[in-house]
Amino acid sequence: MKHIISVLVENKAGVLAKISGLFSRRGFNIESLAVGPTDDEKISRITMEVNAEEHSIEQIIKQLYKLINVIKIQELDPSNIVERELVLIKVNADSKTRPEILETVSVFRANIVDVAKKSLMIEITGNSRKVRALEDLLRPFGILELVRTGKIACSRGSKY
């Protein structure tokens, strides 16, 4: 089962290595990872997607808490969050295919961020399902390159 955990850590060198090391030595795989400072520059947020059983995720959260640089951990409830990932897709496009691609892009409310003679670069933001749908539609044109950020998520409402 997939779990999204959001970890507040001290923004110091080596902290990410300690966290990822803990995952690997306890036998967990990180499916997605995003890191960046919060509004307080001394604190970073790490958002991770992990595939694990309920019991295992409880254990991994407890183990994470033991790391001295970890300040707070939240497991996010997937039914009550906004989750986003950002993807840049470079796709083949000539004069014949370009209109169809542009139309698809506009339906998805994605953006064209680079135009070249034989290709287009598309930026899409959204949840995984939306991103995957666009990816599927663009595949027949020939995807040259696809770059994906880790997933970030925030719980809805004023609770934090």
Binding site: V9, E10, A13, G14, A17, K18, G21, L22, R25, H55, E58, Q59, K62, Q63, Y65, K66, L67, I68, N69, V70, I71, K72
Partner: protein, 569 residues
Amino acid sequence: MAKITGAQMIIKCLKEEGVEVIFGYPGGKVIPLYDALFDSDIRHILVRHEQGAVHAADGYARVTGKTGVCIATSGPGATNLVTGIANAYMDSIPMVAITGQVGTAQIGTDAFQEADITGIAAPVTKHNYLVKDVKELPRVIKEAFRIASTGRPGPVLIDIPVDITTDLIDENFKVDINLPGYKPTLKGNLKQVKQAAKKIAESKKPVIFAGGGVISSGASDILRKFVKVSKIPVITSLLGMGSFPETSELSLSMAGMHGTKYANLAFTEADLIIAVGVRFDDRVTGKLSEFAPNADIIHIDIDPAEIGKNIKVLVPIVGDARIVLTDLKNEYENYIEKKGVPDRKEWQSRIKQLKKDYPLKYDRNSSKVKPAYVVEKIYELTGGDAIICTEVGQNQMWAAQFYKFTEPRTLVSSGGLGTMGFGLPAAIGAKIGMPDKTVIDIAGDGSIQMVSQELSTAVTNKINIKIMLLNNGYLGMVRQWQEFFFKKRYSQTCIYNCVDFVKLVEAYGGVGLRVKKKEEVEGAIKKALEINNLVLVDFWIDREENVYPMVAPGSPISEMLESEMLEGV
């Protein structure tokens, strides 16, 4: 303001933490640090290998309860500490390890004697630091001692580049510690404690399972008081030995793979286990799915990650064992005052019967030197008042089985990691921590050869430990497994007659005695205890003696192999 070097600042900070002794070994990147140490009154014990330093710091910490400190240089010096750091981590021993590092400008260039020790040691330290500015030193050292000694104790490593130790800093420079993510829970949730007290009062067949956490939190006294009130029998883990006196009729001694059969059966029959400062290690539980099938579990531990890790818990209580047990005793007394004292006569007589039916056994009539006999004699002749260090293997299990531990911090043994070569250097550290105590290393001939160079450390520093070497010319525990499970194919376990231990210890300036006959055992131990020097007694024990009883790997702990069952197999 007067300026001092980083190295001098390190020494100043160590003094402020109350450090009296450091175990270490110099090298290129710690020369400035050793130069500052030269002017200090902190005692330094020069070992012969860095592994000796880290184990000695560990032994010192186990007997004193203080944080052990060791120093090694960069690269190989630092990596030689790793086994000992891992050992301290597994057994939750407070320790600060300081390593030298190449200069900050050279880090990452594969410079001479460079190793990424914070990276290497990360999985086996509670926390670690790479100091990048001399101004960080006071804070980092303060934090390191705080982290190592509080909560669930453990080793902290501080890696210090050589230029940091020569940089100048204001003598009085201070920065407060800053640990926003570190707040160990000490007091247990009172609602949970009340629920536990009720559960205990209602149970018919409760047992207490006491581990190393009872000793490290200083809860032995309160445990004894609680047992006095509740009359609940006590089982210990290896590291919990001494938390409750084995001489008490309510003591069931150690459970597990080589524990007593009566402890294992008591676990199996119990309806409630009150586990304190233990982690339900596989060596205790055996086959997990059949461990204590009838028991609910109350688990008290300062580390929330231990609760529910291996075993399902009915009442979890996160907190310091001493504080929680104090509250639990009060709540229990309140409860029985209102509802009456529970009648557990049946269980108490069952426990008595189990102890009578399944005592630890060995062939007392044998004319050979039996290791159990040697350990029993050590117990007798020291009046049970010694600090016993062990190596790892059969010697360790015989020591645990046949010496009766009655006080906390009197058994020094590598539990979780099972580190061969631990006993001798740990005994050196223990003797320095407790100079007035008789310190004995119950050793095996395999283990001690991993660290025999430390005999030199002991003799040179007049650390008069007594080594009782149970010499069978085998890597005995592995040989025992080969006998039971690998058709007696003794692959690479025979080390018979490979060294004359008496001559070896004499070469270092100690005293060696040899015992080949049973009737010489007592005299030799007496003599060893009297001689004012390091003494090694080389007992030529019955070579193929096994440790019984034994739970075969993967079996439930209620099924124990005993000597008579295996004879002729």
